[in-house]
Symmetry: C2
Subunit: 363 residues, 2 copies
């Protein structure tokens, strides 16, 4: 810490702010900067209130250490946890200490650290935009559009490629005077959109469940989900968006064949002839769920997540999906690579995107 | 990189091994260490094979850069992705470069880096054990057992506390000669187990879904899940364990009240009187599912994940759960703090643990 604040303008320390004996960041920073530690009465009251709000009758005394801060520290609020962070300004540097719990740390970065730096250490403007794509790998993307990406780079537009499961996020970043940077970013985005067209499903903080939910609400439609290999993860993804109760009707995890017959009306003979992982079964699941539940649109997924259960004709990773909408049923075959959890996650995202495209009449 | 290999014995570089123009780790390391880069024919063949196995007809030429390594580099296999990692031994140091994708990086750390270091840079032995707990916060844990943790620390047993959603993982670490370290670790574990008793549900790589699955298989039982606020996430957690098809029968995400009535046989009058989030509804969901599906044990969860839908009597975070087993039905009330996704995740883990305790006859 002592070295970092000498060589850097901004130092962020994460972790070690808990109440347990292995949490030593407060002491370490105080020692490095030669500052005494003191209990902060104002923060202690707030911490006690949090404990009561969480349903505890008292706050354990060990938690007092969480509000024992180096002299001169300003508290940084932690809306998702107990330990406050803090800010110090040793010499010409600014140092932030925040908890290591990723969720808490990210929230504090967004809500406190970045706004503080923007207000107190303004530099050149940095404007960026994340374009989220699916259905094209990063290799194919740079191969097909090498000229575009080289041109953007020459014009000072940084392009970062971040592989996700299963798509690629592109981050366009532009630096300079604020107005000019925003204009150059908008121009770059328009060019990338032309090139990647239908592969782009969202931007920045948008998520597939949120986008699908928005489109369902716009149509006043309700959705139901029938899953096998994904085990509930597709429905859980839809429900992860706040407000999902407005459009999610039900989900059926028909893991056993018997459940597919009883709950979705898949004919036993069809399962016998084609198997559980097949186009006819996926179609029958979507169709059966849509008619039984009375929703506008039903999604069905059946596949082999592995590690066992594969065969030469039906390998691990094979997934059949179907969407039953008012204008008919569509079905798709995928073979997803990776481990069991990767196959499940790829299925969920791929099928949410298919639902999105059906809603937007792109499929 | 140049500075790191001078001051450290082991350097691990993550990220920047992809095929896109922003992936510059190979070039950067070659430059820092003054090594030429060359295409590796053997790795190129392997990369082409991977592309064909993933269902592509050819490998894009941009991927050649992924097997263009600094002279003298040994490849580190990447079983979950395309980019191989590599190892160099500049001076007295060893440097590993691995992809930044967390899943790939972790796998390569476990399968290649750690075994290589153990074989080629043996130091003193480090033995550690993770004890996974639930139902006790870290503050309460250290308050109640301060004497024990202080004694362990004095005997050279490092204790790390890692808050998870919703439990706390304890990591006990001991260093020294291998046999003695293992014995001291076992003694420390025994003492912690005495102190924390029933709060400990698993160790090391064990997961709640895996443990629950093992107990279900041991009894030859099948399970079904009825969920509302968790939206399929509880069933998806059960299914995440390999081999889940042996014991997961079905899951019902009865998000709308109509679905609770139609699919689980919850009486409409009961929903009218007590509301969807209530003990009678949770019991009726578990009971209804168990009798309709014919499974041995059924789990039901109904709650308010927020951010909307709370009221003074039924706040956001309120969750009622029930387990219907051959010997009867048990129900529990929880109020989980946090955001929508935190409430969902806490519900899933808490109820998996309740199912575990019912299976082990601890509840």
């Amino acid at each position: 810490v002592g070295e970092a604040v000498r060589r850097s303008e901004v130092v962020v320390v994460t972790g070690g702010l808990g109440p347990t004996p292995d949490d030593r960041t407060r002491e370490g920073i105080a020692l490095a900067l030669g500052l005494p530690l003191a209990v902060r009465g104002d923060l202690l009251e707030e911490l006690r209130r949090k404990y009561l709000a969480y349903g505890h009758t008292t706050m354990p005394e060990v938690n007092v250490v969480q509000v024992t801060l180096p002299e001169g520290a300003e508290a940084v609020p932690n809306p998702l946890g107990t330990a406050p962070g803090f800010r110090l300004e040793p010499g010409n540097a600014v140092l932030f200490a925040v908890p290591g719990v990723p969720r808490e740390m990210r929230q504090m970065l967004r809500e406190s650290i970045v706004p503080w730096l923007a207000a107190h250490r303004p530099g050149e403007a940095v404007r960026s935009r994340v374009l989220k794509t699916m259905g094209i790998g990063e290799s194919e993307m740079v191969s097909r559009h090498a000229v575009l990406f080289a041109a953007l780079s020459e014009r000072g537009v940084d392009v970062g490629f971040y592989p996700r499961l299963p798509g690629v996020h592109l981050r366009l970043t532009v630096r300079g005077e604020a107005g000019a940077a925003a204009a150059r970013l908008a121009a770059a985005e328009a060019e990338v959109r032309l090139a990647l067209a239908a592969h782009i499903y969202g931007v920045d903080e948008e998520t597939l469940p949120g986008i699908v939910g928005r489109e369902l609400v716009a149509r006043g439609w309700r959705v139901a989900v029938a899953e096998s290999c994904t085990g509930g993860a597709l429905c859980a993804a839809l429900v992860s968006a706040p407000g999902a109760s407005r459009y999610v009707d039900r989900g059926i995890v028909a893991y056993a064949d018997r459940a597919k017959i009883e709950l979705l009306g898949v004919p036993a003979a069809l399962l016998e002839t084609h198997g559980a992982v097949s186009e006819p079964t996926a179609r029958a699941m979507a169709q059966g769920l849509r008619s039984r539940s009375g929703v506008d649109v039903a999604v069905a997924v059946t596949g082999i997540a592995g590690p066992e259960g594969g065969s030469p004709g039906k390998p691990v990773g094979l997934v059949w999906s179907a969407v039953a909408a008012p204008d008919g049923i569509r079905a798709w075959r995928s073979v997803h690579p990776g481990t069991r959890d990767m196959i499940i996650q790829r299925s969920v995202m791929t099928d949410l995107n298919r639902l999105r495209r059906v809603l937007l009449q792109e499929e």
